[in-house]
Subunit: 300 residues, 2 copies
């Protein structure tokens, strides 16, 4: 099974990066793209994110071997409905959504009997839209595939090779486990960052201008992920509700314990945790998921 | 009043950066340095962090116009006691601690009648120790001075000029207000980061190896500040307890409201907050406290 024609539905950061990465790394593959927003379609055409811009989702997928849905998780069902009639019998349908159980359910319902393999490249930046994508977004990042049990092994292999071809490292995982893992490594960190940035900008005793001036003390790191796409993240929290609430419960338990340690002046508990968390960063760097340069390599 | 001889007590990230910045930007100033750890003294000598390494704190300050205490907040009192007898009558004593009311109290008690002007340069990285410092750490960052009411205006001006000479922007503030502002912009972000990194590494359902592998989804940003010096941060939370607990209360209130929105499927509340926080980052960038390049300018 060879993937020679790829349709990309949604031409923002992820869709655009797939298109640019294919152009650079697999120039033999023909890409067609669609976005519901005409301005995004126009800009995508100017940047050359795909070989051809289609005017409808059906037109984009008509000859595709692989369709990648790159829309917010809450829009996956509509996107699948819009391509259903025109989708070739043999095409693989995949996506890039950050939660997988709800997407798997929606796609299976709308596209019964088709080869649906949900996927999640764990990569991104705080930018969004057709100008945000770049060809190296997936290099060295993990892409998690969550194939249903009855998935054709050849299709799974073809999709794995597709992502490896974009520079990603591929892992296969159960959708429910994916949603729990990503709740911890991505969804809760975003929720916390959105919260603290909101809290800080709503205070009466400290002005917003002060928060911004003195943000180099740590706050500015949180503003990066709190600048991520609002619609995408709304959909992530609503679609992965159970795992997010479960992990949020663990986090607030731990935060309450630290709060008590601070109130009671228990320096040992604080120091023990802080010494332990320092080691985690070294492991993240060793695994190649982070730069070793201080301050993320920000210029000084 | 001219500052020509500077003593630096504590030769870690902050003390070392002050020494290196002086060497580069004010080569006429003579610096002497002391660190309680003999290995740090040796390494500081090798790197040339100061003009001369002293073997005791008293020896370091004996001829100083300005003494800068660069030790953890909880060690300020001991450091002040160690220099008290040798301190020249006219010297300014300052520090770089992240909380200011407790430091101001400790220094005023140990050094009655002396010119004490607490200070806090809002700059740093996750690194610590004598190898961590660099000459441009303070460039474009704010340094907050919290002079007591009876401070000699000339001494205040001299200290302001000193920090401006290292590239910092200087602000004068009441110590109590400083502690509230920094609780929001620095202490709570650190506490949250330490907590979530601890939570994530203690789960049973998700392995630590999975957390590390998929950290590019957002978690890795938190590991940076959770890698900060454990002793320094233990002292910050214990010394700024009231402001930290107050701000932590606001944060958990807001987090609980979002938790409820997720549980009840209230997408509008989520979207409204997320759209608002995105704007804050733009302001942080405009204020020059952050890079505009995506992902903090991490290499891709």
């Amino acid at each position: 099974m060879r993937i020679e024609r790829v349709a990309i539905i949604g031409l923002g950061l992820l869709g655009g990066s797939i298109g640019l990465a294919l152009r650079e790394r697999a120039p033999g593959i023909v890409t067609t793209g669609f976005d519901a927003n005409p301005q995004v379609r126009a800009r995508a055409g100017e940047r050359g994110l795909v070989s051809a811009i289609a005017q409808t989702p059906a037109e984009a997928v008509r000859e595709a071997d692989l369709v990648v849905l790159c829309v917010p998780v809450g829009a996956m069902r509509d996107a699948a409905e819009a391509i259903a009639a025109a989708l070739p019998e043999s095409a693989i349908v995949s996506d890039v959504g950050s939660s997988k159980q709800s997407v798997a359910r929606a796609l299976a319902e709308v596209l019964p009997g088709r080869c649906v393999i949900p996927a999640h490249p764990v990569a991104g930046t705080e930018e969004s839209g057709p100008d945000a994508g770049f060809a190296t977004l997936f290099v060295g990042r993990w892409c998690i595939l969550t194939p249903p049990e009855d998935t054709d092994p050849e299709a799974l292999e073809a999709l794995s090779n597709f992502w490896a071809g974009l520079g990603a490292k591929v892992e296969v995982m159960d959708a429910a486990h994916h949603d729990l893992v990503l709740a911890v490594t991505s969804h809760i960190p975003h929720l916390i960052a959105f919260t603290i940035v909101g809290t800080a900008s709503d205070l009466e005793e400290v002005t917003r201008s002060e928060v911004i001036k003195y943000s180099a003390g740590g706050f500015r790191d949180f503003t990066r992920i709190a600048a991520s796409d609002p619609v995408m993240w709304r959909d992530v929290f609503l679609s992965n509700r159970e795992a997010v609430l479960e992990m949020l419960g663990r986090f607030t338990e731990d935060l309450t314990a630290l709060q008590r340690a601070i109130r009671s002046g228990d320096g040992e508990t604080l120091h023990d945790l802080f010494a332990r968390t320092r080691a985690i960063r070294r492991q993240v760097i060793e695994e190649g998921q982070e730069t070793a340069r201080p301050d993320f390599g920000r210029e000084h």
